[in-house]
Each structure stands twice: as C-alpha cells, then as structure tokens.
Symmetry: C2
C-alpha cells in the first residue's frame, strides 16, 4: 500500500508518537534507520514499517511505501530519513534481577541511552529509572542505546522503594557519590549480586537516597573531579563484572 | 560599553566564529554559559565577554552589555543565552608526553568532548586527533568537555606518523580493536608510559593504523559487542591508570 499524503489518517496518528503523552497512551514508539529497525524485528517488537518509495525494503517484513514528505512527517531528523518503524513497548515480569542499575533523575536522553547500551553489553540484568529520568522511548534515548533497550528490562519506579526491596533480598546497594565515608572503587570487592545508583548530571543522587544506600563509592581521579554520568556508570559496571583480583 | 544592534561590526565578526574556517583563521572560539566562561578565565584564555544587559556580570572581567537579540546572535543555542565568551586558542609545546590518547576519526563532537573530560580527570597528558575528528572548538565538543579542554594539550596531527614517533620513544601503542590477536583488557599489565588509539564510531580504527600498533586490546563484554567510543576510551584509561593488581 502506498501513502502519498501527509493528511493520511494513519500518518497523522503516528506523528503524534513524537510526544511522550501519545507514547504512554498507545504503548507505541518510533524508531528510525535500518540498524534500529533490524534490532526491533529481532526483538519481535516491530508493528509497522514505513519505507521511502524510491528504495527497496531490505527487511523480511511488509511495509507501507511512502513519499519523502510522508517519511519526513514521521521522522524527527533534520535530514531526509528513509525508513521509520513503529514498535510496541515490551513488558517484562518484574522478578529476580540481581545485577541492577538505578538512575536517579538522569535527564539527558543520550546519557540514559548510553547507560542502557553499556549495561546490556556488560551483563546487567535490569535498570530502574526514577520518573524524572529522560523518557526511555525518546528517539535520542533509543538511538544512543543502539537498540540495547530492546533486550534489557527497564522499569520506571520509585527508586527509594526499590532500594528497600533490593536490600530485603540481601542485595548490597552502592551509591556513586562523593561522601566522607565513600570507598574508592578499587577497594570494593564485588559480590555476585549488586545494585549501583547513579545520579542527576548536575546535582548527583538526592541526599535521602544516598543515605538509604549501603555504601558510597567514588571513582579514582587525578584532578578535575568531573565525569559524565554514562562514563561513571560504565566504569563501575565494568569493574563489578570483570575486575579480576 | 553597551551593544544594542546585531549590525554592530564586532558582533557580525564574532558571529562568524560559529564556522570552523573563521576559528582557524582567527585562533578564536566561542564558549557559552557561566561554568565554561569561569573555566576560560581560570585558564587565562578569555578575551572578550558579552553579557545580557538585564543581569549582573558575575566575573571579575570587563564585559560588553548586550541586548537579548545581540546575545542570541552570538549564541548557538535554541533558548535564550545569557553570556558568551570569546576565547583565544591555547598553544602547547609539543614535547614529552608519556600517557597519551590518539583518536582516529572520532566524528561526534559530544564523544570527542567527553573523551577529553575523562582523559583530563584520569591524568592523561595529551590527546592527538586525526584531522577528520570533530573540531575541538565546536561548541558541542567544548560543552561535553566541561572545560577540560582548557587544561589538556590536544593536537591535530597525522596519527600514523605520531604512532611511529611514540614507538621510537619506547612508548607502547595499544589499538582498541577486535582482532584475532587482541588481548582482553584485564590481561594487560600497563607500564608508566602508554598510548591508546580509539577509532571512528562506525568503522573503528583504520586497518593500516591497527597494523602499526604494538598490541590490540578488547574490552570484556557479555554480549552485544557494542560500546560507545567515549565509554571504551574511559574504561581503558581508568584501567591503565588505576587498576591495582
């Protein structure tokens, strides 16, 4: 089926998916580009495929052929896009995760996506986001995750409550925070189960949340005392998972 | 002195600094926001300061008071900026650096800036960029570096030539690249001097450059085999500098 008008009812509906409100309402979200669409097909979440009428459909998945103006209407990019996928949000059973990250108000979608990418590559089981974190289905989050969000359970929840639950299961919860009593990362002897909390780009982890954690960790630095939050998260996870002492 | 017109000759001149060509020609570049301007003053590179006429100058540095339209003209941001600094590029003696990074065509300014930020925090001496890397004085590079680029020597040069020079000084050069002979990062026993090469976001390090390195290193991963280049760089530097075995 070919779609030539940006007034097409379906196109008008789908364009609304650029807002969080519509994504929350419908349980759908948009991905752009061949790599992410391929990942979405792999993960069995692709629902609809829109492809520019001048190119071949590279996927084994039926598509709507669209004119460039229709594709541009669906796209969030400045330059001409070629293909757009509409995906269904995944649901996960929230049960026995034992290597987890908790993000307290990490606001940049690029940071949230990059953390998801590293977390999945390094074998984290699950990520919990506070409700002021960047939206998981923001296009920038999805792009920075490079599709890892199709594979890793991510939940939005009350971080403080979640920390209590983890502690009840005897999972030690670490806050990445400058603190009088903070241990340097190299002093930590990680166990098989762990939870690591990362905080907001500007203000870090909220004090009451730091206070509720079992231990504070600080990454060694020579000077400047400044690391991007996705860098800090990745260094901690890598250390917890692969450090051989 | 107050500047009220976007036709002001100096404003028209300075606005050109949004292009790499003008930055290269003049040796000047623009920074935005209080934090970066403060860092520029610290580093003694601030030349001119433009501040919105409705706010107080928070610095001990003379400023041009400007209307919002003049500030917006100088700014690269979408939302209303409040202060703009014009800085002088720094020059460094290119001599005895012994803990260095080399970036082969890292194209995203956010990645280059984040790498500079981590490198400075973790005690790297100097960074060499290939000439296809993102421009060091691109506003996004500067912002992601959080001002670290005011403190760390960064040179644009021929990476292959630089590798030869480092090797002549008995500095071991490591390529971060998937390779049959690659060692896992945890197997590496770092020396005091080292050079680490990172590659392009899509295609990695060029083969001829990989071939000229002394060793290939691969970061341990569970799955997915995908890491952002700034994450990979930061994990390697952290390991080389702080791993206690």
């Amino acid at each position: 089926m070919k779609i030539e008008s940006i007034q097409n009812k379906k196109i008008k509906e789908r364009t609304k998916l650029h807002t969080k409100k519509e994504r929350d309402k419908t349980g759908l979200f948009i991905v752009e580009g061949e790599h992410l669409i391929q990942e979405a097909i792999h993960a069995n979440v692709l629902k609809e495929l829109y492809i520019l009428d001048t190119i071949e459909n590279p996927f084994d998945f039926p598509c709507f052929e669209c004119t460039q103006s229709v594709i541009n209407k669906l796209s969030n990019q400045v330059s001409n896009a070629k293909m757009i996928g509409v995906c269904q949000k995944q649901t996960y059973k929230n049960d026995n995760y034992s290597k987890v990250l908790l993000l307290d108000d990490v606001q940049d979608p690029g940071n949230v996506g990059t953390i998801i990418r590293s977390a999945y590559s390094f074998g984290i089981d699950c990520i919990y986001l506070s409700n002021k974190c960047a939206d998981l289905y923001n296009l920038k989050t999805i792009q920075s995750s490079q599709g890892a969000l199709f594979h890793l359970p991510v939940f939005v929840c009350d971080i403080k409550e979640k920390i209590k639950q983890l502690q009840k299961k005897n999972i030690k919860v670490y806050a990445t925070a400058l603190h009088q009593k903070a241990k340097m990362l190299q002093e930590i002897v990680p166990e098989n189960s762990f939870a690591i909390v990362l905080g907001n780009e500007g203000s870090g982890i909220k004090q009451e949340i730091v206070d509720s954690c079992d231990e504070c960790i600080q990454i060694e630095m020579n000077q400047f005392e400044s690391l991007n939050v996705a860098i800090a998260a990745s260094i901690c996870i890598y250390y917890f998972q692969y450090n051989k002492k």
